[in-house]
């Protein structure tokens, strides 16, 4: 049985790349589109150095610390997906019902599907805290900081620029099922 999630939380969108639930695709702020910059002529790299993160053992434990470790790991996977266009691991770590996850995955797939690349995307989980898991999972509250990034064509010309964000607080609903954590929702804190 799954209880209602998100009571007391505003499922509003965070302002940067990381979408929150409650938004339709149109509600997500679009990155600032800019015309191809004459300075953006460096050869784009498809980040051949990006290495797929591996699940740390603690992120597989059904504990508060395990839920926190999973949240950090999930965001590492998000960075990897943005760097490479490979969203398979991110999808595997996200519940099919997670709309905010699906929106992020959709954006990455769309960008790389159009033959473009993302440069410089990184997220930093500044702090986090997790309550003891209940039957469903754990509501991990966390602070997130996003670096600015660019979407570029293969020739290196810049298509879009997204500014860095201020640290923002949100809640990550981690669901426990079949012996592992899954992302279930990401929602902004209701102040």
């Amino acid at each position: 049985m799954r209880r209602a999630l998100g009571a007391g939380l505003v499922t509003a969108c965070l302002m940067g790349a990381v979408a929150c639930s409650g938004d339709g695709p149109d509600a997500v702020p679009s990155p600032t589109a800019s015309s191809a910059s004459p300075t953006g002529t460096a050869t784009a790299s498809s980040s051949p150095t990006a290495v797929a993160p591996t699940l740390p053992p603690e992120a597989a434990e059904r504990t508060a610390a395990g839920a926190e470790a999973f949240v950090r790991f999930w965001f590492e996977q998000l960075e990897y997906a943005y760097a490479t266009g490979d969203t398979r691991q991110l999808s595997a770590l996200s519940d099919p019902e997670c709309r905010s996850c699906a929106e992020l995955i959709r954006r990455v797939n769309q960008t790389y599907g159009e033959g473009r690349l993302v440069r410089g995307f990184s997220v930093d989980v500044v702090s986090s805290a997790a309550p003891p898991p209940n039957d469903f999972g754990s509501e991990v509250s966390f602070q997130l900081e996003e670096a600015g990034y660019e979407t570029v064509e293969v020739d290196g010309s810049v298509v879009e620029t997204v500014a860095p964000t201020e640290p923002r607080s949100a809640v990550f609903f981690a669901k426990w099922g079949s012996g592992s954590w899954l992302a279930f929702d990401i929602a902004k804190m209701d102040p």
Binding site: A4, L5, G8, A129, P131, N134, S141, M189
Partner: protein
């Protein structure tokens, strides 16, 4: 008992204004199964809703705990403070987790159900056990009155000719804070009472009535004059604490509408020229 109630009304819940109000009133009297208003002393009926509600045992016990890893409800309020709990909330507020445990279960089985920003004073003031919501609490909420509709809707009626009445009302949900807990209340219109201003009343009835031509509730005035018609909507209520299960509120809340003035005229027969002359 309810120290702090912060109320927010969900807007846009009333049904559409409506009613086919073509000026044909008076021509369908023979077809109508009229429900006559009765002059009555309705104190017995209203007293039914004013009796004290028996206090129910708490369904859950609740605890607020500062949102830092390692803090649990068992710690008895000796919470650690961490950087994370100070972020994302306005100055002076901290992130708290709300835990609950089913009433009467020992040892308590705490389940974290909500995350929210509170001041330390608010968290400390939150009752350890949610007291439940009573009929009096439901009555204090700003429930909308139903909308009384009269036909004809031109403000006039004729002595001895039935005025059709019907109520427009819809369920509403309200968010409130009760002794520190986030509570959602759902109120549903169940019954309707009409007072016609001439001493006659109708209901309470579960029938909201209907617009012409489906006449179910009518009242015929016996004397000319100016009268005020009011509709009282009787709501049943349910509540949910922090997204938990819906629980019933015993009793009903009653909300009376603003009066609708009606001018009752005496009709008389008269011969007129030309109507049939073509």
């Amino acid at each position: 008992m309810l120290l702090a109630m912060v109320l927010m009304l969900t807007p846009g819940v009333l049904g559409p204004a409506g009613g086919n109000t073509e000026d044909v009133f008076g021509s369908f009297q023979d077809d109508v199964a009229e429900v006559r208003g009765r002059v009555s002393d309705d104190r017995a009926a209203s007293a039914q809703f004013e009796r004290p509600i028996s206090s129910q045992p708490p369904v859950y016990a609740y605890r607020y705990v500062v949102a830092c890893s390692g803090n649990t409800p068992e710690a008895g309020g000796l919470d650690n403070i961490c950087v994370n709990a100070t972020l994302g909330c306005p100055d002076g507020y901290f992130q708290y987790w709300l835990f609950r445990s089913p009433g009467g279960v020992q040892p308590q089985a705490w389940d974290q159900v909500d995350t929210r920003c509170l001041t330390a004073a608010e968290a400390a003031a939150a009752a350890p056990e949610f007291p439940g919501l009573t009929q009096a609490d439901l009555q204090r909420l700003p429930l909308p009155s139903g909308t009384p509709r009269l036909q004809p809707d031109n403000g006039y009626a004729l002595v001895g000719v039935g005025t059709n009445v019907y109520a427009e009302a819809a369920p509403v949900e309200l968010d409130t804070v009760v002794v520190g807990f986030p509570v959602r209340v759902r109120a549903t219109p169940e019954r309707f009472s009409w007072a016609f201003g001439d001493g006659a009343s109708l209901g309470p009835t579960t029938d909201p009535g209907a617009p012409y031509p489906d006449l179910r509730l009518t009242h015929a005035y016996s004397a000319p004059g100016a009268y005020d018609v009011t509709l009282t909507t009787h709501y049943s209520g349910e509540y949910s604490v922090a997204g938990g299960a819906w629980l019933p509120i015993e009793g009903e809340a009653q909300v009376t509408s603003a009066p609708v003035p009606v001018e009752v005229l005496s009709g008389r027969s008269a011969l007129v020229d030309g109507v049939l002359a073509g």
